[in-house]
């Protein structure tokens, strides 16, 4: 249990067990996050960092356990939970044919969070103004990652779920990301980031290694479901 701050937790996950492709990933994982909190997911490859993010996002149903937001299970209203979340996956979710700005605009419009001002600020924060009107297909991997991050920053969602956000980023961009994370937390936002580099999430962040919650005999009641 990673208790992160004295404030009451807003997001809680209790006793989560997950299997992927008939393979146990982890069991008995719990976490809690209060407004302004940050959680770093660490650990080796295959430890389940990405899986934790997808489960918290509601993209993946756990075999067991409960995730709640302000005490209400996220499965009660998956749509409402989805709208709280800005998710950055492995892939950048950019369309090569659209410009960087159009990509972010389209994604935000689909999420019902279109705000030109917020997008302008986010593009500026990640130093993308000059690249914003180029097709995403022309950008380098690191530039594409920044566009995807700008989408997260501009979303205004209270919970950011970032899967290896720093892949391909240079030192200056990592600094910009850290500032954006600090602003987000100051405004009461929460963040869970899977990363194995020294990304500074700010003061009071906690660390969790899903691999430290192995599938043990205690969880063998689920073996049947995994056959």
């Amino acid at each position: 249990m990673a208790q992160l701050s004295p404030a009451p937790a807003r997001l809680t996950a209790t006793d989560i067990a997950v299997a992927r492709g008939g393979r146990p990933v982890f069991a008995g994982l719990s976490l809690a996050l209060a407004p302004g909190g940050a959680l770093r997911l660490a650990g080796p490859n295959g430890g389940g960092k990405s899986t934790v993010l997808r489960v918290v996002a509601g993209l993946l149903s756990p075999l067991k356990g409960r995730i709640s937001w302000d005490g209400t299970a996220i499965t009660d209203d998956p749509g409402a939970h989805a709208r709280r979340i800005a998710y950055l996956g492995h892939a950048d979710a950019l369309k090569s044919a659209l410009t960087a700005r159009e990509n972010a605009e389209a994604a935000l419009a689909v999420a019902g969070r279109a705000s030109p001002e917020a997008l302008d600020r986010a593009l500026a924060a990640l130093d993308l103004q000059r690249l914003a009107d180029l097709p995403a297909g022309w950008l380098s991997a690191g530039q594409r990652r920044r566009v995807a991050l700008a989408r997260v920053v501009a979303s205004g969602c209270p919970l950011w779920l970032l899967d290896e956000p720093t892949v391909g980023l240079d030192a200056a961009s990592v600094g910009a990301l850290e500032r954006a994370i600090a602003d987000h937390r100051t405004a009461g936002g929460m963040i869970i980031a899977a990363t194995h580099i020294a990304l500074d999430l700010g003061a009071g962040d906690a660390s969790l290694d899903p691999g430290a919650f192995p599938w043990t005999a205690a969880a063998s009641a689920f073996d049947e479901a995994l056959v």
Partner: protein, 239 residues
């Protein structure tokens, strides 16, 4: 339903039932084929060719029953997420495809002397052919994924979509057939059936359905063993 959801208990019962069912199936086939081939009257119109019906018609029934089994097992897998339901749906598919194929081949063998050609786009044959396509699509889909669970769930949704569509397809094919039917073609079954023909037909139907049961248990066992093996290998690799 949930009483059988435990694989150990399920296979204890299934293994006890298996030899009984196998003997019943063999007995029904022996007696059914005897009546069908030797101790039933030839049709006044079709002659001895009618004997193909005793192999053909129950195969078509069993093929449809397999599809229903597959769709129901798929629905239970989606609702209760139990692996045995997925395995049952997967087990039923190739068996159903096999029965469908038997039905098509025997229908074609029957059609040769009756119609003078191996294949006629008769409404029934066409419907069965489309059923065969549905089986092929299902089998291709469930095996197209690296994650067996993903394949099983996709297959379950497809089986249900197919089940909703089967009556529409059947209706449209009948409609198409009445539009294009050459008037002289003999229908496969008359409206009524003589009692001495009904007995072998029912025996053969019982034989096919018990054979279906036997093959279901055998396939379930082998599919379950395959899953178990996969799980053990993955567990061994992550030690």
């Amino acid at each position: 339903m949930h009483r059988f959801a435990n694989p150990t208990r399920f296979f204890r019962i299934a293994n006890a039932v298996l030899p009984v069912l196998a003997v019943v199936s063999a007995g029904l086939f022996a007696s059914g084929l005897y009546y069908a081939l030797f101790d039933s009257p030839a049709d006044y119109q079709q002659g001895d060719t009618v004997r193909i019906m005793y192999v053909h018609v129950p195969a078509a029934w069993a093929a449809m029953a397999c599809y229903a089994t597959m769709a129901l097992a798929g629905a239970s897998f989606l609702i209760w997420k139990h692996v045995l339901a997925d395995l049952a749906a997967r087990a039923a598919a190739p068996i159903g495809a096999g029965f469908t194929l038997i039905s098509l081949v025997t229908g074609s063998l029957w059609g040769q002397p009756m119609w003078g050609t191996w294949w006629v786009w008769d409404a029934r044959l066409t419907s069965v052919l489309i059923l065969f396509f549905l089986y092929l699509g299902y089998i291709a889909l469930v095996n197209a994924f690296d994650d067996p669970d993903r394949g099983g769930r996709a297959g379950a949704v497809l089986a249900l979509v197919g089940a909703v569509n089967v009556p529409i397809i059947k209706f449209s094919v009948d409609w198409w057939n009445t539009l294009h039917q050459p008037a002289s073609v003999l229908r496969m079954n008359g409206p009524s059936i003589a009692p001495e023909m009904l007995l072998p037909l029912l025996l053969m139907a019982g034989a096919y359905f018990s054979l279906f049961g036997v093959m279901m248990i055998l396939r379930l066992r082998s599919l379950y063993a395959g899953r178990r093996l996969r799980q053990l290998r993955l567990a061994a690799a992550s030690e």
